[in-house]
């Protein structure tokens, strides 16, 4: 079987995979990183979104071997070693942006990329458009949109948002 070297959440891995092994299968089954989920077969739902070299991608639509030499970040790699949550995770919690939690890892990874790609500001409309690759069946998206809007200033160091409530 082919060999693959990559970095996941800052840790180097050398593993054997089949040609057909998807990146998400490598993460979940070989590396035990089950925070990344699989919600569909057609690249629509976004439950599997991770960052590859800093960009959000659907790990169910990428071969593991395509990640040779890449740096991958998953939901497990966001919090600081002391457990401090990433501002996006914190705002998801603060704004009740998750219910069953299944879409949440992919949603958070997409949301972080969305905020990073908009350093000059992010409107509600842009947030809603920017989530087109992620499906949530529980929340109606209302609170996800609020959470991302609240995370934007925290991530760009602009200002502290008014406390929720």
């Amino acid at each position: 079987m082919p060999q693959l070297s990559l970095t996941v959440n800052g840790k180097s891995h050398a593993v054997e995979v089949e040609g057909r092994t998807l990146l998400v299968e490598l993460l979940r089954e070989k590396l035990g990183l089950t925070g990344t989920h699989i919600g569909c077969d057609t690249s629509q739902c976004g439950a599997c979104v991770v960052h590859v070299d800093g960009r959000s991608i659907k790990s169910c639509t990428m071969l593991a071997l395509q990640a040779e030499g890449a740096s991958v970040t998953t939901i497990e790699g966001l919090a600081k070693p002391d457990g401090t949550l990433h501002p996006m995770q914190e705002m998801f919690r603060e704004h009740h942006a998750l219910q069953c939690g299944f879409c949440t890892p992919g949603m958070v990874m997409s949301a972080i990329d969305l905020v990073q790609m908009h350093p000059d500001g992010l409107t509600e409309h842009e947030i809603r458009e920017g989530l087109e690759g992620n499906l949530c069946r529980c929340t109606g998206y209302h609170n996800i949109v609020k959470a991302i809007a609240a995370a934007w200033p925290l991530m760009h160091g602009k200002q502290v948002p008014a406390a929720a409530e």
Partner: protein
């Protein structure tokens, strides 16, 4: 620590693990030595299986076993049971054809399991499944309701003539006929409630395990593990409860679709026993589309008789509903006791008669999906209300108000069996009109018109019956189970608390809400309260979570158990403080002797209970661990008013919801933040049903919407902000006063959306439009050509 009790928007305890990627969903579970199952499913709607050649598959690399329906039969397993029996008008029981775990003799819908391959890896199982050679003889398929009841239709099941599962009715036909005889006006409406695919984001999954002692464990994506243990153990595998543990860990959404006992659960558990290895199965999304129970799928005719003043005199309803190819666990009760009993709505219509015919088709089984029966009833009534207003030239708000059940009429006995305990439909209506700025709509309409958009506003004033349900009532209606709930409150020696609940959380936030009840009642910080659910080995029993029952029934069981803890604590405290138990008061986590400054904290009492050195041991057992079963006295009746505004693009016909306001009466609110989220999520599903979602079969029974490429799921950009408010009256018969909030969003919203679409199209003379209101349907109306609607049913 701020206030954490009832009424606080406490941030959720469960979020930490979900946000860190440490949730524990079934597909995350891997047992040592685990094998993988892949299910080969029927690719056609209806066929005789002439033979299955398993030889090549069995010899494929990594394969441990290939099983067909005959192997299941040979082991003496039962079929998948149905939990509810409806009786026909003539008193005979419904048709209840067998539902084999794996098809035997015939396949009856696309997705019906034909064989299972069990191998070392998922891919090996899937590779091998392609080597199965299945010799089919195609039979004519029944793809929809109309085909099912047509003269000379093919039969889905031998022995079920005309494909009729049951022909049922409720209400006083004579009284209704008499009222129609003297009516000033009769308004009639034909309408379809579209078929939906629940699509919880987590696909179903099951892991079966079997140990050396002969004990089985099933990890499954279930809303009610005890029910699965009961049904699978007693009816399918014939394994006693004591030898079967069912665990439903973190579950990624259910919306009804994970209530039922599915074939895959039985397959992996049985196969684990046969192969002495754990066996995992996880649905691919395409399998979810063809094997998760679908929702809705009704065609109805509704007629309202009115007097000259616009008072509702009588309602007559005929409904044809789809059961799919087999009876799913709760399916028969959905279009009967969860639908027709709600046809009074919020109105004082004195006479109601409904006939419901359930039919079999060669489609995926249909069962409860968020709201279950109640969205169908409210859609029918609230569309009808708007059509009555339109046809008789009345204001749609005033028509509703005029026919509301008055505030002082509670408890109100409807003509269709239910007795509403409380409600104030005027309050929710007025609250919603104000919050939505109904009065200011015309100005917004003009602004939209200036942009080339047609704007419309619509409302629904709906009710639901939930908190299911009093066991003796449902028993008399055909339920084969009780519908109480169970809770254990275990106060540990040092004062932390475990809540063992038979309710199951798959997004509802029970770990937080239930902890808040403990905080309120026992004065224990929620950080010291652990809510345990989803494991038959840990929890005494439980009926699970569906029908918005967790708080009203599960929460009430908790309160009952907490009351027992307090009662026992008082006796211990009385002993320790040498007072009479009657003089002990419990407040804010302290037992005190009335009129004195003597008190003991809960933790002191619990320590004494477990370290009974100074303890009334002759009269009281040690320990502080109480279990209660709570059987509700009645259903609960949330209700409210939803107001929707849509904008339609004048050129393409595309409708978008631009404003949505929900004001609901859900009784006592424990956590407003969670309630708001539940309502918003329900509304999103309702908007999805009204504008985009539709499960479509072609005339031959092939599912055309078999993936997210063709089945439209609402996305963030398809929805607006959803404004949620509450105007609550308390439930009068449970200790919390709570009614339930999980389904109101999906029940109240679809008619509000369609009413808004029709209102936007006011210049086009359209009276009705079936869901989903797709751009093309709306465009067709704007062309003045095709008038949507459907021809009369052949069966009528």
């Amino acid at each position: 620590m701020g206030f954490e009790g009832i009424g606080a928007s406490v941030r959720r305890k469960e979020d930490g693990r979900f946000l860190a990627g440490r949730g524990n969903y079934v597909d995350d579970i891997n047992r040592p030595g685990q094998l993988y199952a892949f299910i080969r499913r029927a690719d056609r709607p209806h066929a005789r299986i002439r033979g299955i050649d398993t030889a090549a598959a069995a010899m494929a690399p990594g394969v441990h076993a290939v099983f067909t329906g005959k192997d299941i039969e040979a082991d003496g397993l039962g079929g998948l049971p149905c939990g509810w029996q409806i009786h026909n008008k003539d008193g005979t029981p419904m048709a209840e054809p067998p539902h084999p775990v794996i098809a035997v003799g015939k396949v009856r819908h696309v997705g019906d399991p034909v064989a299972v391959v069990i191998a070392e890896t998922r891919q090996a199982a899937k590779d091998a499944a392609e080597r199965l050679v299945i010799d089919y003889e195609d039979l004519p398929g029944i793809a929809n309701l109309r085909q099912a009841v047509a003269q000379g239709a093919a039969q889905v099941h031998d022995g079920v003539a005309g494909n009729i599962c049951y022909d049922w009715h409720i209400g006083d036909k004579d009284a209704v006929d008499a009222a129609f005889g003297r009516a000033a006006t009769v308004v009639k409406l034909d309408l379809t409630n579209n078929r939906l695919v629940p699509n919880a984001m987590e696909p179903r999954s099951a892991v079966g395990d079997h140990d050396a002692a002969g004990d089985y464990t099933l990890y499954t994506t279930s809303q009610n593990p005890h029910v699965i243990r009961l049904l699978m153990g007693a009816f399918v595998l014939h394994v006693p409860e004591s030898k079967l543990r069912v665990v439903a860990p973190d579950v990624g959404g259910g919306f009804g679709s994970k209530i039922y006992h599915y074939a895959e659960e039985a397959i992996v558990t049985w196969a684990a026993g046969k192969l002495k290895r754990p066996v995992k199965w996880t649905a691919e999304r395409n399998e979810s589309f063809m094997s998760d129970a679908h929702g809705r799928d009704h065609e109805s005719t509704a007629e309202m008789a009115l007097d000259e003043q616009g008072n509702f005199l009588a309602l007559r309803v005929r409904t044809l509903c789809n059961m799919g190819a087999y009876l799913s666990t709760f399916a028969p009760c959905v279009p009967t006791y969860l639908y027709a009993t709600l046809l009074a709505g919020v109105y004082r219509t004195p006479a109601i008669y409904a006939e419901v015919k359930a039919v079999f088709t060669n489609t995926v089984p249909v069962d409860a999906y968020r709201g279950a029966g109640r969205p169908e009833a409210s859609y029918l009534l609230e569309r009808l209300a708007d059509v009555i207003a339109r046809d008789t030239g009345r204001d749609r708000v005033e028509l509703r108000r005029q026919n509301f059940i008055p505030k002082d009429a509670f408890p109100y006995q409807t003509p269709v069996a239910l007795q509403y305990d409380s409600g104030d439909y005027f309050a929710t209506l007025d609250g919603a009109l104000k919050a939505a700025d109904w009065a200011g709509f015309e100005e917004r309409r003009k602004q939209s018109a200036a942009k080339g958009k047609l704007r419309g506003i619509g409302m629904s004033t709906y009710i639901e019956a939930c908190g299911i349900a009093p066991s003796h009532v449902v028993g008399s209606l055909g339920a084969r189970a009780g519908l109480y709930e169970v809770a254990t409150i275990r106060v540990h020696p040092t004062g932390s608390v475990s809540v063992l609940t038979g309710s199951h959380s798959h997004g509802q936030g029970h770990e937080t809400t239930f902890a808040q009840i403990v905080a309120e009642k026992l004065g224990v910080p929620i950080a010291q309260v652990e809510v345990v659910h989803g494991d038959t080995q840990k929890i005494p029993f439980g009926m699970g979570t569906y029908g918005s029952r967790s708080l009203a029934v599960g929460g009430s069981a908790m309160v009952k158990a907490i009351d027992k803890v307090v009662a026992k604590g008082k006796r211990i405290a009385a002993h320790l403080m040498e007072a009479s138990a009657e003089d002990i008061e419990f407040k804010d986590g302290k037992f005190s002797v009335a009129g004195t400054d003597r008190s003991k904290a809960l933790a002191e009492i619990s320590l004494a209970a477990y370290v009974p050195h100074n303890y009334p041991i002759e009269e009281l057992e040690p320990g502080l661990d109480e279990t209660a079963f709570y059987d509700p006295k009645n259903f609960t009746f949330p209700g409210g008013c939803h107001i929707c505004e849509v904008e339609i693009e004048g050129d393409s016909g595309m409708a978008r919801v631009v404003r949505f306001t929900a004001v609901d009466d859900i009784g006592r609110v424990i956590n407003p933040m969670i309630v708001e989220g539940q309502v918003q999520g329900g509304v999103a599903q309702g908007v999805g049903q009204a504008l985009m979602e539709n499960a479509v079969y072609d005339a031959n029974g092939q599912l055309l919407t078999g993936s997210f490429m063709d089945y439209t799921m609402p996305r963030a950009e398809d929805l607006p902000d959803i404004t949620v408010g509450t105007e609550s009256t308390m439930c009068t018969h449970n200790p919390l006063g709570s009614k339930g909030c999980g389904e109101v969003g999906a029940i109240g919203s679809p008619p509000a959306v369609i009413n808004a679409v029709i209102d936007a199209l006011r210049d086009y003379g359209v009276r009705h439009l079936d869901m989903p209101a797709t751009p093309e349907k709306i465009w067709s109306i704007m062309q003045g050509g095709m008038q949507p609607g459907r021809p009369a049913m052949a069966a009528e």
